[in-house]
Symmetry: C2
Subunit: 173 residues, 2 copies
DNA sequence: ACCAGATGATTAGGAAGCTAACTATATGGG
DNA sequence: CCCATATAGTTAGCTTCCTAATCATCTGGT
């Protein structure tokens, strides 16, 4: 270990994990810790990069995901349903919709069936925005994963799925 | 596709990816898109879960990472070095240190070598906080990855590494 | 038919990250 | 030796997310 970290992107090493575990006299598998920590670091980095990417189209990651969700649902959906499928709180959906409405990418209507409810509608302009982004967006996603062969992608999805299933265990009781 | 999403945790499907790509007449590999999107979703979910997890010890993910980084560096480091190794901005480090200092987990000293510089020092109390958290923390990390066999963990790390290397490509140009 | 409790949406306020701008100190070329 | 430029740290202001509280409406048990 020299004076410099030589590790600017914040990717921890197996050696660091090992040392931390030893420091507290634990028996944990260092590699398991490394997987968890690296996944968190990768997630955070990807998150920031996504924001930059979407900002180029005048959107944020959250707003883009909401538009896509809307388009996948024939252009309309209630805020509560959006919150559920996007995995964010209803309050967050309110904020996203306010921003998107201001730019004319979605519109809000009162629900006809439920006096409390609202319906968020994708506008022609919102739909066009998605269309404008599509080619570049999907190309970049493909580039991100381009280092993996087809069978490796399937494998990665399987492994990732088996980790994400247990995310709740991180906070459970 | 019924009325309900049956997919509350926000994990997109291959079918959705395929439909989106088809909608815009693109040639992108749906599985590649799925990998990218799932990784982003997993990262975001893990991030929130981490905050909840660390909040139980009165910390945030960022504050915890700073304390650990400090301990890995013999208990002291400059804010700039911390920013680099944590992969966050200097301004963020200032904020984290302010909070940690308020709780007595770190202290700030002026650098003896550089009149501009400062040194963040891990206090006994900060060190103790890490010690108190260790057993539970590492056990939870191990549980998170517990669905993977040892060789699968290595494989996952390799695949993840090959994706994260390309994160910059998402925003390049 | 009514009231209690559930549910939909919003608002208010907080935390963590960012960039840009500011202050103070170092450093190096002329 | 001095001034231009670079670097360290902080501050101000923005965004996104969150939880908790509020208000309106719906629903079910008596």
């Amino acid at each position: 270990m020299s004076d410099e970290d030589a590790n600017p992107g914040a990717a921890p090493t197996l050696e660091q994990a090992r040392k931390q575990i030893a420091r507290y006299g634990l028996e944990t598998d260092p590699q398991a810790v490394l997987v968890a920590v690296r996944l968190m670091a990768a997630g955070a980095r990807l998150d920031r990069a996504s924001e930059v990417h979407f900002a180029r189209s005048g959107l944020s990651t959250g707003r883009y995901r909401l538009l896509v969700d809307l388009e996948d649902s024939d252009g309309e959906k209630s805020p509560s349903q959006l919150a559920k499928s996007l995995g964010v709180s209803r309050a967050t959906v309110t904020g996203l919709v306010v921003g998107l409405e201001r730019e004319g990418l979605v519109a809000r209507r009162a629900s006809t069936e439920d006096g409390r409810g609202a319906v968020v509608v994708l506008t022609a302009r919102g739909s066009q925005r998605l269309r404008d982004m599509a080619a570049d967006h999907f190309a970049r996603l493909e580039a991100l994963v381009g280092g993996l062969a087809a069978d490796e992608r399937g494998l990665f999805l399987d492994l990732l799925e088996r980790i994400t299933q247990r995310i709740d265990a991180l906070t459970a009781e």
